[in-house]
Amino acid sequence: MISEREKTKRKVIVFAVLAAILIVISLIAPLIIPNDPFETNAALMNKGPSEQFPLGTDRYGRCILSRVLMGAKTSIFSSFTVVAVTFVIGLILGLLCGYYGGVLDGILMRFADLMLSFPQMVIAIAVAGIMGGNLVNAMIAMGITAWPAHARLARSTVMKVKEEPYIAAAKLAGCTDFCIMYKYILPNVFGPLLINATTQIGTMMIGIAGLSFLGIGVIPPTPEWGSMINEARAYLSLSPWAVFVPGAAIVITVMVFNYFGDSLRDYIDVNGDSNG
């Protein structure tokens, strides 16, 4: 009989491997693409899957498989970057606010409340629209709306942890504030925050693809899943594969990263319970 802990551990391993495969594919994409993803050819517009183009061609006669593979790099790494940066910013702000409290906490958290009170995508569209359409601006737009969630979680976890007796003991032992935050608080809040960040990757991917779909993300002809769907939607009834393939890529990748985050959380919860 496999224990609950073992089950969740297996889940974590399976999804970690799947996520790793996706990352590796995106890294080696330039080496494995069957055709030039930028090569246009009017004679090959909207062609169905064939030996030369296993997933068909788009309205410019470009190889969809090659573009989806190259798009993986853009989609996955832009999401990773935004999540990593907002995670670090949120963590630092949350640590400072939770530990010190006071005016800084009041101002920053009210600002975070303000950001959270608007739908994330609406702010992102406004920011990307004002700054102009390109991938960096789309990432900044998504980042502006993503950090408050990390900061709020970090702050509440720090506030709980800082009341623990070992923090008081560290203070009595003469540890500096930085030392306490780095050595005693950070290790305790890092786990839950990391899980939260992992589950954010999928959301971020959809967000960036959404902005690109709206034409305020990547600049053409850079391959990116959202912009590929946007470019192909007019031809949905003629060449559905040009929409379905990048669409399926988004669904699969988001599902893998979401399941990975969920299984990681379940694993830590089970571990926490059994340790407790």
């Binding site: 246009t40 009017a42 004679a43 410019y60 053409p220 007019a234 949905l236 003629l238």
Partner: protein
């Protein structure tokens, strides 16, 4: 039980009768047309801004002249227009009246032209003319200097006639001469019209029509497919392909038109040989292929068939372009791109999300990449407020109607004058300026064509502008629908007295 059965049978009979009635009603062609339009304006007042385009399309307003299928401005509300030097004698047709029954008089025409001059800066010049009302039907216009293009100017939808005395709501309900009158209008939105019972031009076939503002090509396609609309023009390349696969349901009408796709090369940033290399790299035929028959390639701003469309342009020759670049000191780097003094040759191509310019930009990107030139594509929402204003481009893509009514002056004046917005691209030629001045007042058609060809040749020889394609006007009509100006190459015409829906 029997009573129940009888009742049930009666009920079924009633339902069948009701259904039959519905069918009969539809067969009677319920004479209401549903149309999609790509632009919506703030008012129905034709004199304002570009509002006249839609007011004309809605069949509400009419101008003194109308452009026909051969792109010639013909008297419409006028019986005749006689020209003697700077003097034009305009004689109104008998019986032209507004939808309220009031007659259109020569004085009302004069007041309309002056009002348009007052509220629309594109028609300010009309205020400089001298107007003399001879009688109720005759107006003499003295343009003070020769103006052979007056008929096509007066065909502009912005110069539609309104009953200025009776109209109280210019935004929602201008009283005009067209076959239809407004019923409901939403600024920058939809518009509903009904038949003008007093139409001066005879019987109006349709009872009414509703115009839906649908900017998105896919929305129009889906609305057409599910039967919500019956007709629209400016059909996209993708939608054209879809409709052409179902000829039993849709009728596609494609005619040559005059909306021009062109580019401006920034002379302030690109030297002579680089501009020539760009001209040699661009493959117009390839760009047209990606647009699925919605454009035809062109050498100059006008159709090759027109007398004023004869110009010699260099043929695509990538090898010659590369030679030019290499002669200029550029060398291919390891990535396959040309560079000079360690700086990679990179071109900024600006465009906007309409008129298939994104398709051109994407195809150009690949053409330049293959020739060893890196590009950065920059899409802007409003070209006039961004790259056309700031000049921050190497190649600016744009689209405009170059040939308004079978005459080259309008397009050439708008593009090549030193005072035009395109002067931002650095093209300045005194010779072109002089030729444009000559063209403005030249009355001989053959000489006008000769002057126009000279002007365009000078521009082409300097590689200041390049002319990619002329849009065909494609209208899709549901089977049984006809008469939506599908044979006139301008998209500011639409609903007519003869528009029908079977």
């Amino acid at each position: 039980m029997k009573i129940k059965k009888v009742l049930a049978l009666l009920l079924i009979a009633c339902m069948l009768f009701a259904l039959c009635s519905c069918g009969k009603k539809e067969e009677k062609a319920d004479a209401h047309l549903n149309v999609a339009v790509s632009f919506a304006y703030q008012a129905l007042d034709p004199h304002l801004d570009y509002c006249g385009w839609n007011t004309s399309m809605y069949g509400i307003c009419e101008s003194l002249f109308k452009i026909d299928a051969s792109s010639t401005a013909k008297p419409f509300l006028l019986e005749k227009a006689e020209n003697d030097g700077t003097k034009w004698t305009l004689t109104l047709k008998d019986g032209v009246k507004f939808s309220n029954g009031n007659k259109l008089t020569a004085d009302m025409v004069r007041r309309n032209l002056l009002r348009a001059a007052e509220v629309n800066n594109r028609f300010e010049y009309l205020a400089g003319f001298n107007y003399e009302v001879v009688d109720e039907k005759t107006l003499v216009v003295d343009t003070r200097e020769l103006l052979p293009t007056l008929p096509s100017d007066l065909a502009s939808p912005e110069l539609g006639m309104i009953d200025l005395d009776s109209t109280t709501d210019f935004v929602n309900n201008p009283i005009c001469t067209g076959p239809f009158v407004p019923v409901a209008f939403t600024p920058t939105g939809d518009c509903e019209v009904k038949r003008n019972e007093n139409y001066w031009g005879g019987k109006v076939t349709l009872e009414g029509a509703k115009f839906f503002y649908l900017a998105d090509d896919e929305s129009k396609l889906y609305a057409m497919q599910n039967g919500e609309i019956d007709v629209y023009n400016s059909v996209s390349a993708a939608a054209r392909e879809v409709y052409s696969q179902d000829p039993d349901t849709y009728k596609l009408v494609t005619i040559p038109a005059t909306r021009l796709q062109f580019y401006c090369l920034n002379e302030n940033r690109l030297d002579d040989s680089l501009r020539r290399a760009i001209t040699l790299i661009i493959d117009k035929d390839n760009l047209a292929e990606f647009q699925n028959g919605t454009v035809s390639t062109t050498d100059g701003p006008f159709s090759r068939n027109a007398a004023y469309g004869k110009v010699n342009v260099p043929k695509t020759d990538v090898a010659a372009a590369k030679e030019l670049l290499e002669k200029d000191g550029y060398k291919l780097n390891g990535d396959g791109y040309y560079e000079k003094d360690g700086k990679v040759l990179e071109l900024k191509i600006c465009y906007y999300q309409a008129r298939q310019l994104p398709t051109i930009a994407t195809a150009l990107d690949d053409q330049f990449r293959k020739a060893g030139i890196k590009t950065v594509l920059q899409s802007e929402e409003d070209p006039d407020a961004t790259y056309v204003k700031t000049g921050d481009f190497d190649i600016a893509l744009y689209c405009m109607i170059a040939d308004k009514a079978g005459d080259p002056y309008f397009g050439l004046d708008a593009m090549f004058r030193q005072s035009s917005k395109w002067a931002i691209g650095g093209f300045k030629s005194d010779e072109v300026e002089t030729l444009l001045d000559e063209l403005k007042v030249e009355t001989d058609t053959a000489k006008r064509a000769e002057l126009a060809n000279k002007i365009v040749q000078l521009v082409v020889d300097e590689d200041a502008f390049g002319f990619l394609g002329l849009f065909t006007k494609t209208t899709v009509l549901r089977k049984g629908v006809s008469g939506y100006a599908e044979n006139i190459p301008f998209d500011f015409y639409g609903l007519e007295a003869t528009s029908t829906k079977e």
